[in-house]
């Protein structure tokens, strides 16, 4: 498996650490209420199809990356810096 780091280019999977679904980037406001927080902390989708993950380029440049991939085909359709703009 190869992942394209937005900074370093295509790299081997062993350089990356898998964090989980990219919901971490959509953190609710502190006063959003218990339902929103319960959803954020515990409830995860398990899509058959496109999903967005957070990966960390641990053995490389240290960037957090949002990887859009398809769980049915294993195709990776997009990678972008989790920080938004490039630095």
């Amino acid at each position: 498996m190869r992942i394209t780091c937005p900074y370093c280019g295509e790299r081997d999977r062993r350089e990356f650490y898998y964090r989980g679904a990219a919901v971490d980037l959509d953190r609710p406001a502190p006063d959003a209420g218990p339902e929103a927080w319960d959803d954020f902390v515990y409830l995860r989708d398990n899509p058959a199809g496109e999903t967005r993950d957070l990966w960390y380029h641990e053995g490389g440049c240290g960037a957090w990356i949002v990887v859009t991939r398809n769980t049915l085909t294993h195709e990776i359709s997009a990678t972008e810096p989790a920080s938004g703009g490039k630095r």
């Binding site: 370093c8 062993r14 350089e15 053995g59 440049c61 630095r87």
Partner: protein, 183 residues
Amino acid sequence: MCVDKLNAQTPCDGLLPLTIGTVSVTEVDPGAIHAVSAFQGQAKSLSEAMKAAHGMALPAPNRATGKSGARAVWFGPGQTMLIGPAPDPSLSAYAAVVDQSDAWAVVRLEGDGAEDVLARLVPVDLRPQNFKRGYTARTLLFHMTASITRVGEKAFQIMVFRSMATSLVNDLQRAMEGVAARG
């Protein structure tokens, strides 16, 4: 306590130099090492200040600028390692400058087949057609995170955490023996 009898040692003291077949590894005395990270939106001004003070621009991602004795090596998004000179005070207006001297083991791998040695350890294509002089990569060297820069036609500069110096030399030696055994 005999504090006056402490002697400074380099990271690879007693481990290098090493020559096996056509490839050799030597320890590099890098001088000062500083992480230079531009403040938000200040990368351009920082590059100008670097040019004025040290004669080299801020490197683009996956590139290094400067030459032996004074290099700027890309180390990650928004981070450059200034290796050699003590950083000019003018840089601090545009960047966070952090002293990391003595934190890194720096070695030079050189000779015919240096790429073949690294090919056994590094999951990145470092052949000259894809990795020219002045190219740099943050990647793995066996199990270690490393910074690898091509500094010559047959020469690489490799940096790992100082605490990994023994592992670095051990892994390089094993790969060099493997390459040399193939003749």
